[in-house]
């Protein structure tokens, strides 16, 4: 998996996370009078995995939506030092932000391979000219895209599906396909929205292994989920949200002992335990 060049001073997982990769200040999102995210500030560092937890409706997914450019948001977001325009999905993609959504987004009219290929960073000769006049060049680049997509599928454990139909995938496989699509785009920042939802214990464990294998000193990961131990194993830091606000932000060990978190979150433990 190719990633962005390593910035100087980045330390690996053993040395702790590197410099700031994504800095969000004062992010607010509201629809129709409801303030889904209220003035949230959070920093994600190179090589860091940030878990985001909170009760339903606390704004976690909306925060990811803001980072992905899908919703209009106010506030500032800086990626590796460069300010990023909010509300534009393509801008987020160009900044290396790749998103996996809560529900699997499978394009059933396309094969598994094609589902992944669409996110390729290599866009040379992929338009009208490529299809009509520059076919040899287009085919060469297609081979390159196929290679990358195949390795993304392999990393995510569904290489066997390759060019097969995507309509017959199981729920768990569709989630992995979404992940492969995100991985294929050589992300700097990976945003995962409840990746383990709907997966049984075995599948969740496999997912955890895949995600652990994805980690590099440059990549930043944000994982929203309800399964506490899943978050614990994966994340070096946890952000707790409630009703659109950032309630607590710190290492997992400290977070679970924080009284505010206990009050805000464990009061709805019954809610999260059902997931």
């Amino acid at each position: 998996m190719t990633t962005a060049p390593v910035p100087t001073g980045a330390t690996g997982l053993d040395g702790g996370p590197g410099p700031a990769l994504l800095e969000a200040q004062g992010i607010s999102v509201s629809f129709g009078g409801v303030r889904a995210v209220r003035d949230v500030s959070v920093t994600l560092r190179h090589g860091e995995c940030l878990g985001v937890v909170g009760p339903n409706g606390s704004g976690k997914s909306t925060l990811l939506n803001a980072f992905s450019g899908i919703v209009e948001a106010s506030g500032t977001v800086t990626v590796a030092g460069t300010p990023m325009r909010l509300g534009r999905p393509r801008v987020a993609y160009d900044q290396g932000i790749c998103r996996v959504f809560q529900a699997p987004q499978t394009y059933e009219s396309l094969s598994c391979l094609e589902n992944v290929m669409m996110s390729s960073r290599n866009k040379r000769w992929s338009g009208f000219l490529g299809s009509m006049l520059g076919r040899p060049a287009m085919r060469n680049n297609e081979r390159d895209r196929v290679e990358r997509a195949r390795s993304a599928l392999t990393v995510c454990g569904i290489a066997s599906r390759d060019d097969g139909p995507s309509a017959t995938l199981t729920y768990g496989q569709r989630r992995l396909l979404d992940l492969a699509r995100a991985v294929n785009a050589a992300p700097r920042i990976l945003l995962l929205d409840e990746p383990s939802a709907g997966l049984n214990d075995a599948e969740t464990r496999i997912l955890g292994e895949i995600l652990t294998n994805l980690k590099t000193p440059e990549l930043g990961i944000v994982v929203v989920d309800h399964k506490i131990d899943f978050i614990d194993r994966l994340s070096s830091r946890v952000l707790v949200m409630e009703q659109g606000l950032a309630v607590a932000d710190g290492p997992p060990g400290d977070i679970w002992k924080d009284q505010r978190v206990i009050d805000a979150y464990l009061g709805r433990a019954a809610d999260s335990a059902q997931h």
Binding site: S68, G69, I70, P89, R90, A92, Y93, D94, C98, R99, F101, Q105, Y107, E108, S109, L110, S111, L113, E114, M117, M118, S119, S120, R121, K123, S126, G127, F128, G130, S131, M132, R135, M138, R139, E142, R143, R145, V146, E147, R150, S151, T154, A159, S160, D162, D163, G164, R181, A182, A185
Partner: protein, 349 residues
Amino acid sequence: MTTAQTSPEVPKLLADRSLPKLPGVYRQHQIIGVAIFAVAACLILPRVVTSLSDQSLMNQWTAYSIAAIGFYWIFGLAGRFAFCQTFMMLLGGYISAWVTRELGPQWFLLGLVAAIAATAVFAALIGLATARTGEFYFAIATLAVTEVGLIVFPKLTSLTGADGQTIGISPPQIGGTVLLTGEDVFWLFIGLLTLVLVVAVLLERSPLRRDAIAARDNGPVARTAGVPVVKTQITLFALGSAAGGLSGAMIGHLTGTISTDSFGLSLSIGIFLMLLLGGSDSYWGPVLGAAFYVVIPQVLTSLQAYETIVYGGLLLVVVILLPHGLIGVGRSVMVTGRHLWQRRTAASS
């Protein structure tokens, strides 16, 4: 790296590439299908279709097929319903007629090129203007364009003739040869249809198809995955409209007239019907649908007055019962047949 698992029924006629294998779509030998179609059409049709009126119908079928293939690109592939295909046909027809009128009938091919270019550019402009509109508003916007066109064209008498009726359009002419008979025109038209089909095949065998389907089936998610949704949709809209322009030019030179009466909104709906009836999943659907559209009024001559009712009823039946059109029916028949055959051979062994 694991080896690819190909779909079992695709034979490998050409040399196997040891390089990374491209997705299945690149190996379906669609060009052969087009070649077979072209050859069969050239061999069979001129023998079977002999009367003058039948020949005219056959040529209309080729022209409508092209317009319907264009609509397939716009709606079937890129997923944006546009009412303006009839407008593009009108525009193409007027422009081609104007070129041959001003410069002379021998410039027929230039007229075709001008029609294609003008409609492509016009559609690109409309596409750019409506780039950020959602599906429904895009459809309404193209409806607006069509309505404005139908009102404005008759006023531009220098281009379109009195009351929007251009008459006396010269027959097709290539070099020195004037194509006067239905059969002569047939060769040209089937050639043009084959050309358009080749373009369709090239499109299917390219990343553009993938991007179009991604944009069509889930645009917002595709955007986050870096798919150039707007650029893809505008490209296909321009391409499809250009096909409409070519079709209109062909009809103009075939029948000798272009008027807003024969290219109204009902034609747009007719093209939609062609696509739906034939099957909106592939470029063969519009070809089949166009054949039905052209033939049905002949079959139902006694029901001339009921023509629109029949069309409406047909559309209703097709949309409720045949979601994948006639080609879908054909496919289901083949699949069922194959299953029955497999069961039979399994039972007998």
